[in-house]
């Protein structure tokens, strides 16, 4: 992807996020949380796209890295009591950075041994690591074990949510367009050939993993169960619906897939008539929305396997 106005985009998106956060109290809190989710989904999907889309390595454990980042930053912010606005945001930024570094370290630890593997084996190994991280967190009493960890400060806001999303998009886009990034694409297109002309695929794969994991985090209440296999799958689906290696498409898919279940929930009237959903004319959607969601996925794969938002023919994903 050509990304000429990357810096303008980055500044614009951060400024927009900041402006929006000033009006946050005017927005319905329900929608506000959906907006946070959208920001998080964008971060996750775009960073996963670097691994799955550009480098062509199939990772099924992205939620595990998200868990590492989320727990690390939550443990840090929980050390502090109530702070004023400036201090709170400063600590939050530091916690986000620490979470990112912890996730990157986990990515490195997972990446070095497993990335010698290829294709399906890599997919299942990353899945395994994701599950191991989850079970490990479930057994760590200092972070609440299976009961989960409650996060004392709700410091996530639109500024951080979308600012981080913008930074992720910027970093991934510039990385892919750099000389180093050509290495990612070379590994994707033909691993054996890339190796033959002197590119070390493992090195590039590891880098993609570390950067991918760097951005994996946020949220208010953390339970190990929330970072399971299904969560990883959701991010993979975003990448694939958006079109592998197509950042704009992946962002759109992340927004769509975060909104879709909520819109279906809204349509079915679950929110307005608690307990009376069945009598609402569209009540059936509430009960069947996840079925619709999965059917949609199958139909999309059958009809538009190149991704929902991929219009030009790019190098075919393997």
């Amino acid at each position: 992807m050509k990304f000429r106005h990357a810096k303008t985009f980055l500044l614009g998106a951060i400024a927009l996020g900041f402006l929006a956060s000033l009006f946050a109290d005017k927005i319905n809190p329900y929608w506000l949380f959906i907006f946070y989710d959208i920001g998080i989904s964008i971060v996750m999907a775009v960073s996963l796209n670097l691994i799955n889309g550009y480098t062509g390595q199939f990772s099924l454990g992205h939620a595990g890295f998200m868990a590492v980042g989320a727990y690390t930053s939550a443990v840090i912010t929980n050390q502090f009591g109530n702070l004023n606005f400036l201090a709170a945001n400063g600590i939050f930024a530091a916690a986000l950075l620490a979470g990112g570094l912890a996730a990157a370290l986990a990515g490195l630890l997972v990446g070095i041994p497993t990335l010698r593997l290829r294709g399906d084996y890599l997919a299942i190994a990353t899945l395994g690591f994701g599950e191991i991280i989850r079970v490990f967190l479930q057994n760590m009493d200092t972070v609440g074990g299976a009961r989960g960890l409650s996060v004392m400060h709700g410091w996530t806001n639109l500024f951080w949510g979308f600012g981080l999303a913008a930074v992720t998009v910027y970093v991934v886009a510039s990385l892919v367009n750099s000389t180093y990034g050509r290495g990612f694409i070379a590994v994707h297109d033909d691993e054996v050939a890339a190796e033959a002309i002197g590119i070390n695929p493992t090195k590039y794969k590891v880098t993609a993993f570390v950067v991918g994991a760097l951005y994996a985090h946020s949220k208010q209440f953390l339970t190990p169960g929330g970072f399971g296999f299904m969560q990883s799958i959701t991010f993979v689906v975003m990448v694939i619906l958006g079109g592998m290696g197509n950042t704009v498409g992946v962002i759109l898919a992340a927004i769509l897939l975060t909104l879709l279940p909520e819109v279906l929930r809204k349509l079915s009237g679950i929110e307005h008539l608690p307990g009376f959903a069945a009598e609402h004319p569209l009540g059936w959607i509430g009960e069947t929305r996840m079925i619709i969601y999965s059917l949609l996925l199958i139909v999309l794969m059958l009809t538009r396997p190149q991704g929902l938002f991929s219009f030009k023919k790019s190098s075919a994903p393997k």
């Binding site: 395994g128 690591f129 694939i240 794969m301």
Partner: protein, 301 residues
């Protein structure tokens, strides 16, 4: 020593159920080279088929009884075999020439569909699986207590494995299956109808998964629509451990995972048991990525 043997028997019973599921993964992978993620949910549907069939069958053959249990097992296997064929026909066949990842995502979609459709049709709350087997008294041999259900699991698994081996090695259709998995194009040129063989493979794998579902439900009688996820993943791990595409490997992998996990459950790290399967897998992949019995594939440029 007694405790060791006891755990070994528990582990083998659990492992043989995993082995039955793993065989389905490995057969499909051997022929189509893709991971059928919905396989764990076929296992779940097998258990639910048994749940809904049992009262109907009880009208004809009184339950619990051996004959009734066999009828339940057989019918559930038949239903799931049909389901497997239908899923392959509708969701996977149109994608056969497409990239592997597309098929993988479709399989994940099918898996989600079966889980949520299951929650919608059967209800999300766990159900108690009816007693279809007469509860024989627990046999004591030395210090060992042998649960009749565990013995039945082992026996049924052994019979099914032998039947599978017979089908794959001795029959015409089995020969065709091996031919297709060896080289689909060459097999087609030799007059093998690959579509029928692939459908048959799905039927066979799904029937084994259904049998595993019934055996699971007999041993652990609480069933729910999401029960297939974790056993499905572990069985897949078992298939990779044994060398994916290799039938004896899948059975061996299932038994190893089952025994190791059961032994870990007996120690103070019991809560980590779910991670054990994956840890074993990663170790094996690092040391011998083609699995215990798998052949090393040479990559062509």
């Amino acid at each position: 020593m007694t405790e060791f043997l006891q755990q070994l028997i528990n582990g083998l019973a659990f492992g043989s159920i995993l082995a039955l599921i793993a065989l389905g993964y490995t057969m499909v992978y051997g022929i189509l080279r893709f991971i059928n993620f919905a396989h764990g949910d076929i296992f779940m549907l097998g258990a639910f088929a048994g749940f809904y069939l049992a009262p109907k069958i009880a009208v004809v053959i009184p339950l619990p009884s051996i004959a009734g249990a066999i009828a339940v097992l057989f019918l559930a296997m038949l239903i799931c075999a049909a389901l497997g064929v239908v899923i392959e026909r509708l969701a996977y066949r149109p994608l056969r020439k497409r990239p592997k990842l597309t098929v993988l995502i479709t399989a994940i979609g099918v898996s989600l569909f079966l889980e949520y459709a299951g929650q919608f049709c059967f209800g999300a709350a766990p159900k108690r699986f009816p007693d279809i087997l007469p509860g024989l008294p627990i046999t004591k041999i030395g210090g060992l207590s042998l649960n009749s259900n565990q013995l039945i699991v082992l026996a049924v698994t052994l019979i099914l494995l032998l039947a599978l081996r017979f089908i794959v090695m001795k029959t015409r259709i089995g020969t065709a299956m091996r031919a297709v998995s060896f080289n689909p194009e060459a097999a087609a040129l030799m007059g093998v109808n690959t579509d029928i063989i692939i459908s048959f493979t799905f039927a066979l794998g799904s029937a084994l998964a259904a049998a595993a579902g019934i055996l699971w439900a007999v041993n652990y009688p609480s069933i729910d629509p999401l029960m297939g996820i974790l056993p499905g993943l572990k069985a897949f791990v078992a298939a990779v451990l044994g060398g994916i595409g290799n039938l004896p490997g899948a059975a061996l992998g299932g038994l190893i995972i089952g025994v190791v996990e059961t032994f870990v459950k007996g120690t103070r790290w019991s809560t980590c048991a779910d991670a054990i399967a994956f840890a074993v897998l990663i170790l094996i992949l690092l040391v011998k990525p083609s699995g215990l019995l798998g052949k090393k594939e040479i990559e062509k440029v």
